[in-house]
Symmetry: C2
Subunit: 200 residues, 2 copies
DNA sequence: GCTTTCTATGCAACTCGTTGCATAGGCAAG
DNA sequence: CTTGCCTATGCAACGAGTTGCATAGAAAGC
């Protein structure tokens, strides 16, 4: 149900079309939410029919017309209600962690490239977040007295930065572990487990 | 699709019933995966019908019979194939981050209780992970020369520990920010920067 | 001229995941 | 002795999310 609320927050911050929302969620810093455009269009339509959003057709030149959505009063109320409800703390589901444990039944060294690729992606993300932070919050061009919304956006972004830094450090740890297992020198490690090894 | 692979890995580590898998995923340390029992039963049934799993009916005394699943050769092959495919790096979807940004349009102070609750949950999880690490990997009772599977389980667990520590630190940051916004009088009560407070 | 990319919206079909409910014996607390 | 919890499996319905496809004009590169 949280996509609905993410849309409400995003539209309160700035009204926009389904397409624009998709891009905010997809690439933007500070939302930490993903959704495809199909999902967004579908939910927008439902929310509009329920009266929590208002639409305005905006004719454009040189590009297709768009439907600009904004939050109606019932939407604001729904968001407020949700903010006062408790939500479940996240449990992370990390596909890569499954792969790492699975590598015990295959060749651990074969995962190195994959882990390095993830490392690059997270490093790029971190760089993008840090650039955004400098631009919007801590740089010389940022508004000096931040308002409430900006303070809150900043603390969320700091969360994203902390997450990427933690992930990068962990991936370094993973790489070191995989390499130690691949090059068994002396006492530690080595594929000498008692399990059925890499078949297939 | 990764639930299938998480099940394969878990069953390779140790065969078990749907019920047992549900508990491993639900509460256990080191999997970082969640699934309800219904989902697991459904997928197990499909995987069995596809021939990637084998079932064995195990009669029990004092409790209902169970179906113990184990990985068949095609399952091992499927896992191996998956391990060599690239996967998308995760993008985190944090409901709480949406709430925090949404609080700009409501009362930020009202989120304090919720954030504190999440803080407690993550602290408990961290304590559980650390206890597990001591028990299985770094304590005096842990097997001294870890085998490949154990090394990999340990590095995944270290990831969980790093995640919880990062999250707890971030929630501290969030709490400090919320409190600074709620008590605007103090010229510099802020967590790190000495910026002036809110101006809603 | 042709292909690709960007803006912009949408349908159809599918899988993934959650919630509510049902069954059923054993066990422990009140 | 009744209520509730634990083990163990499962159906039905719904909502969330993904993938493939379709349309369509404008701009930019080959």
């Amino acid at each position: 149900m949280a996509l609905e609320h993410a849309i409400l927050v995003s539209l309160l911050e700035k009204p926009g079309s389904g397409y624009e929302l998709a891009r905010r969620f997809e690439r933007s810093i500070g939302y930490f939410w993903t959704a495809t455009h199909q999902q967004i269009y579908r939910v927008l339509k439902r929310m509009e029919s329920e009266g929590v959003l208002a639409v305005r057709e905006v004719p454009q030149q040189g590009r297709p017309d768009k439907k600009e959505y904004s939050v109606a009063d019932p939407g604001r109320a729904a968001l407020s209600r949700w903010l006062h409800e408790p939500i479940e703390p996240e449990s992370l589901r990390h596909d890569l962690a499954v792969k790492i444990r699975g590598a015990a039944f295959d060749d651990p060294a074969a995962l190195v490239d994959e882990v390095e690729r993830h490392h690059r992606v997270h490093s790029d993300r971190l760089a993008r977040y840090l650039a955004g932070e400098l631009r919007d919050f801590t740089g010389p061009d940022a508004p000096a007295p931040l308002d409430t919304g900006q303070e809150l956006q900043h603390v969320v972004l700091r969360g994203g930065i902390a997450y990427e830094r933690m992930t990068i450090a962990w991936l370094d740890d993973v790489l070191a572990t995989l390499r130690a297992l691949g090059a068994p020198t002396g006492a530690r490690g080595g594929p000498q487990d008692g399990r059925p090894g890499p078949s297939v």
